[in-house]
Amino acid sequence: MAEILCRFDELRDGEARGLGPFDGSGAKAFIVRRHGRLFAYWDACPHYGDTPMAWRTNAYLNAAGDRIVCASHGAEFEIETGRCVVGAALGKSLTPAPIEATQEGAVVFNR
């Protein structure tokens, strides 16, 4: 079953948004729009394992809006792949979350 979270066109390019918690588990996720595409990851930094990544509501990206940054120790991740490219989570990747944009422009969580 898919749960509608928001509309894709509410996000500007280079913008991120925190979502959740899902399933009453406390697990949160975030989405990023880049070059017209949507990317979604669980809000859990692979450095410490399961800790939240933003420094403020929706603040998941660097100033240029071209990398995800963990606000715990500054590890930087590629938006497209979730791969850590510098910092404390080097060699590790973010875990994709089951969130996608539909043909109709809705952002949905697939449980």
């Binding site: 800790t51 933003a54 420094w55 403020r56 100033a63 940054v69 715990s72 120790h73 910092g87 404390a88």
Partner: protein, 318 residues
């Protein structure tokens, strides 16, 4: 050597605006801010300084990309600056600055500056409590808390770094700069106290692989646990991300509340740290959740007991 503690930490950041907003909301006073960066001060003038990552006035960054670029230590007097300079010049380059300060790197390559401290002496009451059996600290008709009670960071307390070689880090600060180990968390590292303060620690290390080398967090002292709780609650309500706390550490006894930050490290409020002198014998415990805190809480929304008023309540005629 009469080193007092960190006067300032200098960061080379990615997003000046984000850091300026953050440090101001945390409670530091933006003493000077422009497009190049700024200086954000606690009540005694100790500070976080931010510059752009590529600012040529900063020492070169660590390979790890950690944003902390310089630790500025305040010392008692010129003679101490001189003594530190002479000691470090024995095996490394020491830069003598026009203002009388010196710069050198520690054994992990962290740039350090030593200067005669520029802290302003504070004269403020601490948190006062009333307890049965003890003389009242807060007199009759003095209230303990109100909603917009001031809760500002008073002074820069400590900095915690990830380093690959704990033994080397400890030896450098103990043997070369006269720090004392107050306590040790096994597999993490030593709590270190310089000779010019009684604070349990102004420096702590956590052992990690080399690619993580950098700052884990820094903390400012608040006036007491109530100020810490108020400041943290306000920060959280403004949308900032709590990371750990509020709680109370065991070693040091300090209350803590950590937040994520755009400075590439955690930022902590702390309060009511233990004081020690050279009579103290260091304790040791393996690093674990149990050893790290006496208790730990998580914030929840404000709430009050009681449902809606009973039918007829508040009407005249009773």
């Amino acid at each position: 050597m009469n080193i007092i503690g960190p006067d300032a930490l200098v960061f080379g950041v990615d997003d000046i605006d984000a850091c300026a907003t953050y440090l101001t909301a945390y409670g530091l006073n933006p003493a000077s801010v422009d497009a190049k960066g700024g200086r954000f001060e606690a009540l005694d003038g100790t500070a976080i300084v931010i510059r752009r990552r590529g600012d040529p006035s900063l020492p070169p960054p660590l390979e790890s990309g950690s944003m902390m670029r310089l630790i500025v230590y305040g010392v008692a007097d010129r003679a101490t600056v001189q003594a530190v300079g002479d000691e470090l010049a024995r095996d490394r380059q020491v830069q003598r600055l026009a203002d009388g300060g010196i710069e050198a790197v520690d054994d992990h390559g962290f740039p350090l500056r030593f200067q005669v401290t520029n802290r302003r002496p504070l004269d403020l009451p601490g948190e006062r409590i009333n307890a049965p059996g003890a003389p009242a600290q807060r007199g009759v008709n003095h209230i303990g808390v109100w909603q917009d009670m001031p809760a500002k960071p008073r002074t820069l307390s400590h900095v915690v770094c990830f380093v690959p070689d704990i033994a080397a880090a400890e030896q450098f600060y103990v043997n070369r700069l006269g720090f004392k180990v107050t306590d040790r968390l096994g597999n993490a590292g030593p709590f270190l106290r310089p000779a010019g303060t009684q604070d349990h620690h102004t420096l702590f290390f956590i052992q990690t692989p080399p690619h993580m080398k950098g700052c884990e967090h820094f903390a400012f002292h608040m006036g007491g646990p109530t100020e810490l709780m108020l400041a943290g609650t306000r920060f959280l309500k403004a949308g900032y991300q709590s990371f750990w706390g509020p709680g109370r550490h065991k070693f040091g006894s300090n209350w803590f509340w950590y937040f994520n930050s755009p400075l590439g490290c955690h930022v902590e409020y702390d309060a009511d740290m233990d004081l020690h002198d050279d009579e103290w014998t260091p304790r040791e415990a393996p690093m674990s959740p149990e050893a790290s805190q006496a208790f730990l809480f998580e914030h929840r929304e404000k709430w009050a007991p009681g449902g809606p008023p009973p039918p007829g309540a508040g009407k005249p005629g009773h």
